[in-house]
C-alpha cells in the first residue's frame, strides 16, 4: 500500500513538471507580448502627452486646408479640405491644424511629414513669427533630399498660411534646438516667410533681415515656455 502511494505521488509530480515544461514557453511568449503592448515607444509616449490640444465644444467647425503631396504630381503639394473644429485662438488653432497635418492623409503615400514626428510646442510672437518645435523624428525620419525636405517645410508653412492668418513667419526647432538642416539639405537656421506670394511661387523664402533678430526670438522663447507651462 505504501509503495502504491509513493508511486502515485511520483507520477503526479512528474505530470506536473511535464505540464509546466509545456506551458512555460507559452507563458513566456504571452509575457513578452504583454510587455510590448504596455511599453509604448518614447516617441509615442511624447506624442500622447503633447497632442492633448484642448478642444472646446464651442469651437466652430470650419473647412481646413491641409497641404499634402498631390495625388497627381508627387513633386507638388495640393490642398485637401477637411472639416475641423478649430479654436479662435491662433496658437491653439495652429496646434490643431499641425497635429492633423502630422496625423497624415488617408493615403499614407501622400504624407509629407514622418508618422512618428510630433509637435512638441508652438509659440506665436507679437510680430507674427511662429516658432514650431517638433520632436527629433521630424529630422531623423524625413527622407534626406532637397525635394523631400522642401516639401516637408512647405507643407507646414502653407498649412499655417491657409488656416492661421496671424502667422507671418515660421521658425522650426527640433526638440527645442536650432538645427543646421532638416535632414542634410534645407536650412533650418533661417526663418521662413509664410505668405501667399511665396506659396504661389511654390517656394518658401528666407527673410534675411530677420536673421539678426534670432537671439531675441530665442529669448522670447524662454518667456513663452514659462507662459505655456503656466496654462
Amino acid at each position: 500500500m505504501n509503495g502504491n502511494w509513493r508511486t502515485w505521488v511520483l507520477v503526479g509530480l512528474a505530470f506536473a513538471v511535464l505540464v509546466a515544461a509545456i506551458y512555460f514557453p507559452v507563458l513566456r511568449r504571452r509575457l513578452k507580448t504583454t510587455a510590448k503592448v504596455s511599453q509604448p515607444s518614447e516617441e509615442q509616449a511624447r506624442r500622447e502627452l503633447t497632442q492633448a490640444v484642448p478642444q472646446s465644444p464651442s469651437d466652430p467647425v470650419v473647412k481646413t486646408k491641409l497641404f499634402w503631396i498631390s495625388g497627381e504630381d508627387e513633386s507638388a503639394l495640393a490642398p485637401i479640405a477637411i472639416e475641423l473644429a478649430l479654436s479662435k485662438d491662433p496658437v491653439l488653432r495652429a496646434k490643431q491644424v499641425l497635429n492633423t497635418l502630422l496625423a497624415g492623409p488617408v493615403d499614407s503615400d501622400l504624407r509629407t511629414l514622418p508618422p512618428d514626428a510630433a509637435l512638441l510646442a508652438f509659440y506665436l510672437l507679437p510680430d507674427g513669427t511662429a516658432v514650431a518645435d517638433f520632436s527629433e523624428a521630424l529630422a531623423t525620419s524625413t527622407p534626406s533630399g532637397i525635394q523631400s525636405e522642401q516639401m516637408a517645410v512647405d507643407s507646414i508653412a502653407r498649412t499655417l498660411e491657409a488656416n492661421v492668418p496671424q502667422v507671418k513667419r515660421l521658425k522650426i526647432l527640433i526638440h527645442g534646438q536650432e538645427l543646421d538642416t532638416l535632414a542634410g539639405h534645407i536650412d533650418l537656421t533661417q526663418i521662413f516667410v509664410v505668405d501667399s506670394k511665396a506659396a504661389q511661387r511654390g517656394a518658401i523664402t528666407l527673410d534675411l533681415p530677420a536673421r539678426p533678430a534670432l537671439p531675441p526670438v530665442a529669448a522670447s522663447l524662454n518667456t513663452g515656455a514659462v507662459k505655456e507651462s503656466q496654462r
Partner: protein, 274 residues
C-alpha cells in the same frame, strides 16, 4: 669729355641697381594685388567667427586662377561623404557614392567645354558646409555646382535649385557676412540654374523647365553663382537606371554653363551688379 674708368664703372653699377630696384617694386605690387580676395564690389567676404575651416585632408585652396575676364572655374561638390551617406535606397544605393561617380562625368564634360574644375572632395571624406564654400569663395570667376540624388520624386527626372531671390538683401555698406555670402549672387545663380534646368528638361521628361527655389544650407555661404542639381532617385530598383542618367546630366550642366557664360560678369568689374 673725359670720364675716368672708375667713374664709368661707378655709374654703370648705380644705373643697374636702380633698374633692379624698380623691377623688384613692380613685381612686389603685382603680387600683392593677386593676393586680394574676390570682392563683390563692396566688401571682402568675412567668415563667421568660430566657423570651422579644416586643414587638409580636405582639398587645400589653390592659388587664385589666372586673371581672366569672365567665368573660367567650376567648383563641383559631390554632396555628403564620410559618415554621412546621404539618401539611401533599398538596393544599398548610397547617395554619397553615386555623386562621386556623377562628379567624374561632370568634370569630363566641363573640361571638354574649356572650364577648369575643382572638386570639394574626391574620396569618401565629408568636408563641412563651410569647407566646401571656402573652396569656391577663394576663387575668382568661379561658379559652384553641388550634386545630389534624392530619396523621393519621379525617377528619371532632375531638378536644379537655387537660393530664393528674396534672400538677395545685401546690407548697405559694411562687410558682407559669411552667412549671407550667396545674397549678391542670387540673380546670377537663378540665371545659371534656369540655363541648366532648360537643358535637363530636354533630356529628362517630367523635369521642370525652370530652376526651383529652396533654402539650401550649402548654397547660403557660397559667394559665387551657385546651384544644386538633384536627380531622382535612390528609390530606383536598379542602380543602372541612375548610371544611365549621369552622362545626360553632366552634358546638361556643361551646356547650361556654356550658355550662361556670356551673361556672367566678374564682381567688381565696371558695370557689374551681381
Amino acid at each position: 669729355m673725359h670720364i675716368s674708368n672708375g667713374r664709368l664703372f661707378f655709374r654703370i653699377i648705380l644705373i643697374s641697381s636702380g633698374t633692379a630696384l624698380l623691377a623688384w617694386i613692380s613685381v612686389f605690387i603685382s603680387s600683392a594685388q593677386t593676393l586680394q580676395q574676390p570682392a563683390s564690389g563692396q566688401a571682402v567676404l568675412a567668415q563667421q567667427t568660430g566657423s570651422p575651416i579644416a586643414a587638409p585632408p580636405y582639398p587645400t585652396i589653390p592659388a587664385p586662377a589666372q586673371q581672366r575676364t569672365g567665368l573660367n572655374m567650376v567648383v563641383v561638390d559631390p554632396a555628403h561623404g564620410g559618415t554621412d551617406p546621404g539618401a539611401r535606397g533599398a538596393q544599398g544605393i548610397r547617395e554619397s557614392d553615386l555623386v562621386l561617380d556623377l562628379t567624374v562625368q561632370v568634370r569630363r564634360a566641363l573640361e571638354a567645354q574649356g572650364f577648369q574644375v575643382l572638386q570639394t572632395r574626391s574620396g569618401n571624406e565629408n568636408p563641412s558646409f563651410d569647407d566646401r564654400s571656402t573652396l569656391a569663395n577663394a576663387q575668382r570667376g568661379a561658379v559652384f555646382v553641388t550634386l545630389h540624388i534624392s530619396s523621393t520624386g519621379l525617377p528619371g527626372t532632375a531638378r536644379v535649385y537655387t537660393m530664393p531671390e528674396s534672400a538677395a538683401t545685401v546690407p548697405a555698406g559694411g562687410v558682407l557676412s559669411w552667412d549671407h555670402a550667396q545674397a549678391p549672387y542670387a540673380a546670377l545663380s537663378r540665371k545659371f540654374g534656369d540655363a541648366v534646368q532648360g537643358q535637363l528638361a530636354q533630356r529628362f521628361k517630367g523635369s521642370p523647365s525652370n530652376a526651383q527655389s529652396a533654402a539650401i544650407r550649402q548654397l547660403r555661404t557660397t559667394g559665387a553663382p551657385a546651384i544644386a542639381v538633384e536627380i531622382c532617385s535612390v528609390s530606383v530598383q536598379n542602380r543602372g537606371d541612375l548610371d544611365r542618367m549621369m552622362p545626360g546630366v553632366a552634358d546638361a550642366i556643361a551646356r547650361g554653363l556654356a550658355a550662361f557664360r556670356p551673361s556672367y560678369v566678374l564682381p567688381g568689374e565696371a558695370g557689374s551688379h551681381p
